[in-house]
């Protein structure tokens, strides 16, 4: 360690060496989500790149072991904080599989709709920020505006923009508000307008295309061997999507396409994400048509909290509430791996239960961790400016990557 440091220092100080070592981050404008790149540069060309992550490590997995199952849900909000609803749904699904129960149908649809809304918000943030870092700041604000309409919907449903904590084991906290479907469809109109703006400003913009295409190429084989998933993998030409290959919720009941790229470069990633926003809208449209009336939580006092009037009104309700809050949902011993398709790829929850009210072990497979691992490979031989666009397209979210 000390030796490596000394060598690094020597490289840094050697005036005659043409190789310039440069530390990009952790407080560099482009390294949002705090990450550091140790670069070896020849002029502007990247000879070697070492990605240093972990600046946002909060001990998520360890923290979860101290909390009851339902108390973990707010922690999952902080994983990928742009699309917390997907994390919520993923965790709840995993816990439900351990419990061997199915949430009510309406709840599953709600989770699906909210997941897709989150995915759209995630993609809009990613695309907008990538554009902003490439210099087209106006597009970023358009993207954020679209995201804001989505966040408004999320706020109306959950009561919070980012820290939603919407899912519970066996259901969601509350039903959808009045006029939800109309509101969502109205928002889609705005979003389509924003998307056509972005299309005109970016997808057809020669400068943007040249900045993105042919940059950060990751071949199909490399992508698979690095374990990359999500838009990154699909851009490399592998049509792997958890929603298709391993359907959860009711993704098998709706009709949607999995867009793929051919080159595996940034432009493909951009197009894939762009197309996925459209597909999400398709999914939500169908789900809004299919969604039935009904409860949003399982009707089981061992899992779902009782009604408030029971808590305040009778002793059984109070005791039930007390037990559930203090001891938590008792999940039978066992282990489970449940993957959902997060904004950046396969978001997996590996849960181990020992039968007490708290998880014995929680392990999250963060999708962008693998993207970050492949980043050095993607960028070797390219230029400094390419780090910005490629890193933007990997869309590292610190909370998720470092946990």
């Amino acid at each position: 360690m000390a030796e490596a440091l000394a060598r690094q220092l020597e490289d840094t100080l050697d005036p005659t060496s043409e190789v310039m070592s440069l530390q990009m981050g952790p407080s560099h404008p482009a390294t949002h989500g705090t990450v550091k790149f140790n670069l070896k540069l020849d002029g502007e060309k990247i000879l070697d790149m070492d990605v240093e992550i972990g600046y946002l490590h909060r001990g998520f997995e360890k923290m979860c072991e101290q909390r009851t199952w339902n108390h973990v849900v707010p922690y999952t909000d902080r994983l990928n904080y742009i699309s917390p609803l997907i994390n919520n749904a993923g965790f709840a699904l995993a816990a439900e599989r351990l419990l061997d129960i199915q949430a009510p149908e309406r709840c599953q649809y709600i989770r699906m709709i909210m997941s897709e809304i989150s995915r759209m918000a995630d993609h809009f943030t990613c695309l907008g920020m990538a554009a902003a870092e490439a210099g087209a700041i106006s597009v970023a604000f358009y993207g954020l505006e679209a995201r804001e309409t989505l966040f408004d919907i999320i706020t109306a449903v959950t009561g919070a923009r980012l820290t939603v904590s919407y899912a519970r084991v066996g259901g969601v906290t509350q039903d959808l508000p009045e006029g939800f479907a109309e509101r969502v469809r109205g928002a889609f109109k705005d979003i389509r307008a924003v998307m056509s703006d972005c299309d005109n400003l970016l997808s057809k913009n020669r400068i943007f295309i040249e900045r993105m295409s042919g940059v950060g190429v990751l071949s199909k084989e490399d992508a698979i061997s690095y374990g990359v998933t999500g838009p990154l993998l699909r851009a490399s030409g592998v049509a792997y999507d958890v929603r298709k290959s391993d359907p959860y919720l009711f993704y098998d009941r709706v009709d949607f396409d999995v867009p793929t790229g051919t080159e595996g470069d940034n432009y493909d990633r951009f197009s894939v994400r762009f197309e996925e926003i459209r597909q999400s809208m398709r999914i939500i449209d169908q789900a809004l048509d299919q969604i039935p009336e009904g409860p949003v939580r399982v009707d089981d006092p061992r899992i779902s909290l009782p009604q408030k009037k029971d808590v305040y009104g009778n002793i059984e309700g109070l005791m039930n509430h007390f037990k559930l809050v203090i001891e938590g949902v008792k999940i039978p011993p066992g282990e489970v791996y449940q993957a959902v398709e997060g904004g950046n790829g396969e978001l997996g929850f590996y849960l181990v239960s020992d039968g007490s009210g708290r998880p014995y072990r929680v392990r999250v497979r963060p999708p962008c961790f693998f993207g970050m691992a492949a980043l050095g490979q993607m960028l070797k031989g390219y230029m400094i400016s390419d780090i910005i666009t490629t890193f933007g397209m990997v869309n590292m979210i610190g909370g998720e990557c470092d946990r």
Binding site: G43, E44, A131, E133, G135, I137, F141, M383, S385
Partner: protein
Amino acid sequence: MIDIAISAILTVFILANIMNLGGLLLWVERKGSAILQDRIGANRAALLGKLPINIGIINTLVADPIKLFTKEDFVPPNADKFLHWMAPILAMVPALIAFIAIPFGDILVIGEREINLQAANLNVGILYILGMVSLGVYGVVLAGWASNSRWALLGGIRASAQMISYEIALGLALIGVVMTFGTLDLQEIARAQGHMIGGVLPGWGIFYQPVAFFIFLTAGIAESKRIPFDLPEAEAELISGYFTEYSGAKQATFMLVDFLESIIVAGLITTLFFGGWQVPFLMRDGLHLPGDIFYPLPSLLVTLVQHGAFVTKLAFFCWLQIMIRWTLPRFRYDQLINLGWKILLPIALANVLVTGLMILIFQA
């Protein structure tokens, strides 16, 4: 003696106006981009407590400079103190004094005296401005070097390569214009654009040299280091590029220089391609409309209208550059150099060739 006094007054007039325009552009850039992006933009600071109207302009014109100029002036410990201090000055001076060659009106008649509305009547005005533009690179390069920071150094290297590359396209675009008008004097070029092509179309440079206009606009934006050519200071890549290590007044100077340079570019475009202070049909003695209709006008009014026309055109091209800045993404270093050497340079050369051929054909 009086001539010197007049020159001094004109110079002061120009410098004061240009500095104000630079500050104003900062406000337009903020507020204009806010409108473009559905934001509110600069709106803090109100005159006399709380006025019902938002006067963000006061903020940017007064409060911002006060804030910037009272900030700590930080010099990095290992920086070259002298050059670090010199760099903003070296950037500012050429940008400021380049303006004195740009004519902002025809003549002002006071009594018997005819005053040429151009601070310095240089017969090689174009060369003068080219020279000043080429000197402007030193401030940037030295800022990059003297800061003793890798980001600044990268910015400085980018700036020197970029500015040398685009100067060539800029110069060749100008040669087409010079060939068309046969003079290097900017005032003469502006005067030569006073006629009408076929009685309706103003005889502006853009109609003779459309290709040169686009090359000049592109290379000019590149010289003033603004998006899509703002690589030397690309904030997402190099933090602030060559002025990463600057703060307070010096940083404000660099920011102002960017605006000054875009005003120079706008002024040159106006003068070379859009008739300078010329207003269609308006001659020195009055309005000559097609069909031999003639309205005589007082000389002072004509001068004022022409000056107004110059300012309007100048403002338009400043605005155009700001709109471009907020619309396009930026290039990558290699793409930028490719564009300069492999696209703009050949087109500019071809333009010179075609212009020469046309002159030969039409003179024969």
